[in-house]
Amino acid sequence: MEEVRIGVYVCNCGTNIAKVVDCDAICASLSKMPNVAVARTYKYMCSTPGQEMIVEDIRKNNLNRVVVAACSPRMHERTFRKALQTAGINPYFFEMANIREQCSWVHENEETATAKAEALTRAAILRVAHHEPLENLYADMCPSTLVLGGGIAGLSAALELAESGHPVFLVEKTDRLGGNLARVDLTAPHLYSARDLLTDRIARVRANPYVQLMLESELKSLSGFVGNFTAIVGAAKKNGDPHKEHVLEVGSVVVCTGYKEFDAGRVTHFGYGKLPNVVTSFEFEKMLREGNIRTKEGRIPEYFAIVHCVGSRSRDFHGYCSRVCCMTALKYAHEIKSAIPNSYVSDLYIDMHAFGKGHEDFYRGSSEAKTLFLMYGKNEHPVIKRAQPGEESEMLIEVNEQLSGETIEIPADMVILMVGMEARSESGDVARLVNISQDKDGWYIESHPKLDPVATTTEGIFIAGTCAAPKDIPDTVAQARAAAARILGRIAKQKIEIDAVFAEVDEDLCSGCRVCNSLCPYSAVEFDEEKKRSRVNSALCKACGACVAACPSCAIKARHFTDRQIFAQIEGVLR
């Protein structure tokens, strides 16, 4: 067997690692390990000169293994594997030690952090010596896409794909397209009509021969893997024929299932449900769309109060900001003033979040239009009560105003509660169907929050819009079209590369006990009746390793996660 020659590279990551970890000391110490041919530190290993250094060392020093101690492998494993490929050696002869996310960023003590970083790098060096050359697999990419949800996100993704000439199955649970946006009148800050934004897209979707629209339908099951999914779509619960199910072959899935509004009834102190003219933003939106702003008693209200952050940014309900309510509240102030010019609008906010393009101008415009802004404290709340007979308004709101430091009482005929967004109650079911994760609030988790915001941890499943987190229309549309672009890129390549990591059975060791057969969640382990041996179908295997750990004869090998490799790592971290 050829001699193992390892190159070890310890990244400073600017000062991100070097500030806490003594990279030079680690290098000096590990260079003495057997099989280590080169050990260096560098400012940024992931930079072009950093990668070129590795490529050059591989060529000059005949390296056949590389260890990079730097950030998380989830960040740059692929980058460095490519560098190995460039230098002409198998990309799987590489191992990363995570000394940033799991060391320098979480430990302050230089001595212990350096010791830990050295142990992790040593483990990687011992592990990489046992690495084997692996070849990636290629599978066909089915050009059809399943889009879940017919809101603005789903419509945007479907159009982008269909107008490029690729089939789309657009599945919508209700009997109409448009989602939550269809419930909105005008949009902030440009005051475009939501109806105009939607009708054009809905018409294009309906006319496009590449879109198969499936209303009142929902996903029942999804199997397969990236490029080769089989989806079963049937009638959404309650309404529709339960026997009518469609089996669809798709290459990708875009989840655009949106949000639901926070239930204002959960907040007791605003009197929602008790005081007739305390309404939610969506109820008020309906009045705006109908052009009929009236109290329950049929009067035209004179005093309006808008309360921000109902259910959002609160200890008791949702901790997060719903992002769109501040601008929507300002939009209400505009719409109220133009519909009822003699009215008075008070805006009760915690902080005004005007972060988007044109939002600050919109805020200034609202201030100039004589909206009365009153700031209330976080974790406090304005108190709404019925006014005494004879008062000029129907309700009175007492607010502990933060900027003046005074308790102020304002009149109100109509109170609008700006309810935030929350994950839909069925979002967990969808997550399980397509195998993606949710965070503590129920939002879907992206593959990387900054660098890979539309992909998920399951290859071929994308997320767009408010199912991933609260966001406004431009962000939603951008995400939906980004997801479509990612899919189009794969369709253009026609083939998709699949990691060479899967399980394989050593027929000589297999006793044919079949313990592994029933363990596999993907039915990838088959039994060869003739040979009386189990066999792994590599196309179906997703490399979890459940069968490997269960095999009593140690006959199943998890490629790239073999027992020997992991044992070497255990020895390395403990030495």
Binding site: H107, A113, R432, S437, K440, P521, A549, L574
Partner: protein, 150 residues
Amino acid sequence: MSFEPKIVGFLCNWCSYAGADLAGTSRIQYPANVRVIRVMCSARIDPTFVLKALRDGADGVLICGCHPGDCHYTEGNYKALRRYELLKQTLCAFGIEEARVRLEWVSASEGQVFAEVVTDMTEKIRALGPSRFRVEQENASQPVHQEVTK
């Protein structure tokens, strides 16, 4: 010098390893006693990994996987749980204290949870002292005359 526990962590790639990375990006501080080994799924964790870590001188082993119902491979974490329950009985027979081998669910968004688990486990093992295997090993590797001269 005070006793510093050595803990080996086996983390699944999809939830717990991502959660540990998130603790890093969020700069949540925790003790440096845990050394993480990444596996694709907690179901890959062969009980022999745990036994080997203990034999090689680990004072504790932490196994982390996705929350029930949230496994990337549908149900791998349930398999890990079953193996863990069986393994605990074996370890008990060996005289290994229960707190030394721990299974926790950590999702990709729970950086804080990961940091808390590591902090708590480090403290508990620090209180327990070194594992008996480590003590036996260290005694075995010490020259006999040192004992005598004391």
